[in-house]
Structure formats: C-alpha cells, structure tokens
C-alpha cells in the first residue's frame, strides 16, 4: 500500500512543527541547478550543489543527530531568500548559519567571509589577514573548498591574488555565474 502524497506531506509538516527533528532538508531549484539544503533550529547547516540527499544524510546525522527528515516547509525560509538572491532582489542573507563541527579557525574564516559584500571580491590572502592569520592563504583556500554553506557564505567572492578565479567546489562555471549575477565580473 503506497502512502498518498498528501498524507506524506502532512506527516512531514507535522514532524517539522513538532520540534522533534534534529535537521530537516529539501532540494530546491536554482539557476545553478538543484541545491540540497539542510537546516536545524540554529540555522542553515548545509547547502550543496550535489542535490542527492543520500550523499549528505549520514554526515548530517553524525553532526546533528539521526532525527532527519525531508520537509519542504522547514526549508522555506532558506528557499525564499535564495529565490530572491537569484532574482536580483536580495544582496545579503538574513539566514542564521549553523557551523557546528567547524574548527575555531574555520569558523573565524567563515565569519570573515560572510562580511565580504555582494558584488565585491577579496583574495585568499586578504581573507587570511582579516581572520588574523596573514600567512594562512593556503589554509583559507581549503576552508573555501570545504565551505558547508556556499552561496550564503559567499566563497565565490574569494579569488586569487592575480585576479584569477582559481577554483570552486561547485565547479568554476558556477563561480563565474554567481559573480556575474552580482555584477562583480562582466
């Protein structure tokens, strides 16, 4: 017996309302392709260009706990802000982020990253300096590469010292597209 879609939706919404979930997730459409988005009661835990939940659930369970469920409603706030961003109606995100599992250094770098404004870029070295570790450009590169919440934490705004775009965990084409969307490059 297959569970009807509306019953399934009602249960998922009730579960999200119950406060019993450690994390909720959904996939959302964007001009860069489907995104996987996971949230907790603290904020956004994960955004990924790999939209297959199976790739993420085990890791999220280890970070946040096993009570994880797909729930479109729980992800609505993130969905709306991302839609506005891609629609040129939003330049800064009001979403809280959940950085549990990050080291102190990673957290400091990501907090500095969040301050790089829309439409601007900074170099890996500049970001390292702002995080208090001017020699740690390479380590900052690693943090960008493993950024758990791309787009909202704008690692696409970090470029090489010579102005090269260097790389992007979601693929260089997506970095170009995001910087174009923000008017940072032509």
């Amino acid at each position: 017996m297959t569970v009807p879609a509306d019953l399934d939706h009602r249960f998922r919404a009730a579960a999200a309302r119950s406060g019993l979930l450690d994390a909720a997730f959904d996939t959302i459409d964007s001009p860069l392709g489907q995104l996987f988005v996971a949230v907790t009661d603290r904020g956004i835990l994960r955004i990924s260009f790999d939209s297959d939940p199976a790739e993420h659930l085990e890791r999220i369970a280890r970070l946040a706990g096993g009570a994880i469920l797909r729930s479109p409603r729980a992800v609505d706030a993130a969905r709306f802000e991302l839609e506005e961003y891609f629609d040129h109606r939003r330049r800064a995100f009001d979403l809280a982020v959940d950085l549990r599992g990050a080291t102190a250094f990673t957290e400091r770098v990501l907090q500095e990253l969040a301050r790089v404004p829309y439409g601007h870029t900074a170099t890996y070295g500049e970001l390292a300096a702002r995080a208090g570790r001017p020699q740690a450009a390479r380590a900052v590169g690693m943090v960008m590469n493993r950024n758990p919440i791309p787009i909202v934490l704008p690692c696409h705004r970090i470029v090489g010292a010579s102005g090269d775009l260097v790389g992007y965990a979601g693929g260089l084409a997506r970095k170009v597209e995001l910087l174009r969307l923000e008017g940072a490059i032509l």
Binding site: V3, D8, F11, S18, L20, G66
Partner: protein, 159 residues
C-alpha cells in the same frame, strides 16, 4: 561480520521511507480510512520522539509495527470503550516472533507485546516503552508480569 553496519541507526528519513507503506497497510487493515491516516501520523511521531534514544538499528520494522499496533489499540479503546479488542495484523516473517507469538497467545496485549519485544527481539525497555506508549519501568513490569503469567500457565499445564 557486518555487525556495525547492520546495527547502525539509519537517518530517520531512510527509516520512514522504508516502512511507511507497510505501516499504512497495517493501520488500514485494522482501522480503515481516515482513522488509519491519523494513526499513521501518530505512529511515526511516536517513533520520531524515541528515535534519538535508540541504541542500535536492529528490528526497526518490528519496532515500528508494534508502535502502529499500539496506536491502533488506543484508537479502538477511545472509540469503542466497552467493545472487544479487534484482531490486529501480525508482525510476520520473523521466527522469534512467530514462536513467541504462539507461546504468548492469550496474554493481555500489553504484556504480550512487552514479552515478545524483550525476548523475541531483544529490544531494551526504552524502546519497548515507546512502542507501548508507557514508561521504561512500566514496560519492564509488563514483561516480567507476562513471564510470570506464562510460568504459572506452563506450570499448571505440567501439573
């Protein structure tokens, strides 16, 4: 050999997707239409409430079907306070349950569920409590009352 893999607790999403169809089937059989849908939500909310306390991932099917059966019993109790308990669908396909199922036939339903889950499935009392909608202590008492009743019954038969 695959103990650590077999006993790992899957993310709730995986557990829910794997068992939702069967749970709804069991509930439709014992409750029918709308009441089955309410009971379906209640079953998985009860499972979700207990999920973080699970110590291993074994027998999750038996666990959730027991929760479903107890939710269905609660619905019947509410709607037919003086009526007889209906025949509810069985958790089948697992030898321990079948054997214990026959042995425990005739025990009060709570004691029977507690005995089967404890000794057939080796579940701890936290999980049995969630299945029965009671406390771990009440689950322990139900299991030991069930065992005492069985001993008396077997003894009486022998004597």
């Amino acid at each position: 050999m695959m103990e650590s893999v077999a006993s790992r607790i899957p993310p709730f999403e995986t557990f829910y997707v794997e068992h939702r169809d069967e749970v709804l089937g069991v509930l439709r059989k014992s409750l029918g239409g709308d009441r089955a849908e309410d009971a379906f939500q209640e079953t998985f909310l009860r499972a979700l409430r207990a999920y973080d306390r699970l110590s291993h991932g074994e027998h999750l099917r038996a666990w959730v079907l027991t929760i479903a059966r107890n939710v269905a019993l609660d619905v019947h109790r509410r709607t037919r306070p003086t009526g007889e308990m209906p025949e509810l669908a069985h958790v089948d396909g697992l030898p321990a349950f079948v054997e214990l199922g026959e042995l425990t036939d005739g025990l009060p339903s709570t004691e029977r569920a507690a005995v089967v889950l404890r000794y057939g499935y080796d579940l701890d009392y936290d999980r049995i409590a969630e299945a029965l909608g009671s406390s771990p202590e009440a689950a322990r008492q139900a299991a030991s009352a069930g065992v005492r009743r069985l001993r008396t019954r077997t003894g009486r038969r022998a004597g």
